[in-house]
């Protein structure tokens, strides 16, 4: 049983489009198999063919090795009722992987329980100990760095990076997805959650990530998972630190078609797409002026005709190629990226 098999903990959240982000990401793109999902409200159903169970005990017959905390909450704290669930996983001999800001490995009770049951507690957001400011190595990599940016959080930037990476590799390009958040890390098995890094070392962490992505084979393309938005009232610092530290040549601008306000921040309007294109290009470092190559629209709120119309409008507004890479395939956007390569 050396191979990892996930039980995804998504209690009460497995069908929530926003909060189930980690669960859905690992299901759709993960390199390790998911054998069960825990969500007592939907026990007995399946999700993409994966059984949904009510308790850790019910999951054991599917042979999981590792429980993955599959919810992301605003600010990343642990819902208190989850502690009991984690105790149960540990007692049944499962390793725990956790993507929240609250670290299970630093929780005395859980850590001592884990030691007693010889299981590992891994905090996906725990930054490596040796971070510092950037060295300039980010500017010297012989590859094309592509960062997804966007009008808001949780609109599919990670998904767009993953889809572009898949499509690029299918064309024989040496592309690597570069994970910058807890879900990306669970999917790819490496990375740094830049939002959990001490602010002064944010750009340094982003530099380490592109350097590592290059070493891992991204010698044609590095598809860097974006975070937040440059005008998000809570997370813009993460966005801009990642932007300057990853030093992209190209941006892919992501937007959830039909939205006009920052999610969870009523009264905070989203800038227009042309305004976002210009702001990102002007905010890129003078030594690494980056262009927006294309617009990735998430059209999940629209029917197919509405989606096509939204894409047409985005193209007319920005003068850039636009598409929904999940709904209609990533090739059109990848063409735009490849044509803009240096």
């Amino acid at each position: 049983m050396s191979e990892k098999r996930y039980l995804i903990l998504a209690e009460g959240r497995s069908d929530d489009p926003h909060y189930g982000k980690t669960a859905r990401g690992v299901l759709s793109y993960g390199e390790q198999p998911v054998v069960a999902i825990l969500d007592s409200a939907r026990a007995g159903e399946t999700s993409n063919g994966i059984p949904i169970v009510a308790t850790v005990n019910d999951a054991l017959c599917f042979g999981p090795t590792t429980a993955l905390v599959g919810v992301a909450t605003q600010g990343g704290r642990f819902p208190p009722e989850w502690r009991e669930l984690l105790r149960s996983c540990i007692a049944k001999g499962l390793d725990v992987e956790n993507g929240l800001h609250e670290f299970v490995s630093e929780d005395e009770e859980l850590a001592s329980l884990a030691a007693r049951h010889s299981v590992e507690l891994r905090d996906l957001r725990k930054p490596p100990p040796d971070l510092n400011v950037p060295t300039g190595e980010n500017l010297g990599l012989d590859t094309t760095i592509v960062l997804t940016v966007g009008s808001d959080c949780a609109i599919g930037k990670m998904t767009v990076s993953l889809e572009l990476d898949r499509a690029a590799r299918a064309r024989g390009l040496a592309s690597r997805f570069v994970p910058t958040g807890q879900t990306g890390i669970a999917i790819a098995g490496w990375g740094i959650a830049v939002d959990a890094v001490v602010s002064d070392f944010l750009a340094g962490a982003a530099e380490q990530l592109v350097v590592e992505g290059y070493r891992r084979g991204g010698t044609d393309l590095l598809m860097v998972e974006g975070q937040g938005s440059i005008v998000h009232p809570a997370y813009s610092g993460v966005t801009v630190g990642l932007l300057h530290g990853s030093a992209p040549h190209l941006f892919v601008l992501c937007h959830l078609a039909g939205t006009t306000e920052v999610e969870g921040y009523p009264g905070h309007p989203l800038p227009s797409l042309p305004e976002l294109v210009e702001l990102h290009e002007r905010l890129s470092l003078p030594v690494r002026p980056a262009r927006v190559a294309c617009v990735a629209l998430n059209t999940r709120l629209l029917d197919e005709a509405g989606a096509r119309e939204a894409i047409r409008l985005a193209e007319a507004e920005t003068g850039l190629p636009a598409d929904d890479p999940v709904r209609f395939g990533a090739n059109r956007l990848l063409d735009a990226v490849v044509q803009n390569r240096l």
Copy 2:
């Protein structure tokens, strides 16, 4: 001996304009007296009337209660030779205040030595434990929030905020300086070092700071100490998180006259002043559009005629009032701030 009296540790750095930032800030603006400065290379001299000594022993006759680590290094790590110096301070019964990212209170050897000698180790950059994302309270304060921003780090943003605060209080305005970095904290005795906060909580920490500044009496003006620069290759994340979290009504744009490159990052040009004015205004939150009220030029590299010419040029370039508030007084810039109050 309940009052605090500082011995500033500035070994090898007391005359370095960049690295002696903490020492100079506390000397010029601190609310607690400085009784001695430690820098063996300059022992026997004085600095602003304060004796410079070679060793901790030599300082004791001046009656210090607290040793302040008065250097800031790139990235904030401890120079290894400083450990011996800290041991010596602790053994002589001095509390230690430290502004680096490496925390003395978490160093086992120093912490146990401190316990033995009944002294306190205070890490000025250690964030409070209860941080989270902003709540929106930053947008509801009935005061005018003024953030210093700039073309680079270490060009005097804190000093400009302090000078404007002093001048405003001299005019009878209810103004408060809002400290956001280790030196500001040592000066004012409160605050959060936003660069040491986990990136996701950067804007939330900035919000806490303006709320606290308002509670402390800044009901006319909050002069928020700025950090970094929005196009700095290492620290822009801190800058933008602080910008959106502190939700300023007005910016004061700071620049070290005569510089054209980011310090320590050769080949990274500084944007022009008009470009910086526009970028900051466009990057402010749509719900809190901020204007640049004036330009604060640091003219320390120029003679007086050169300084006046640089100020004239900055005014012509930007169409905004400009001045060097340290050299020529803060009143002209304060006028611009007051005229732009809502």
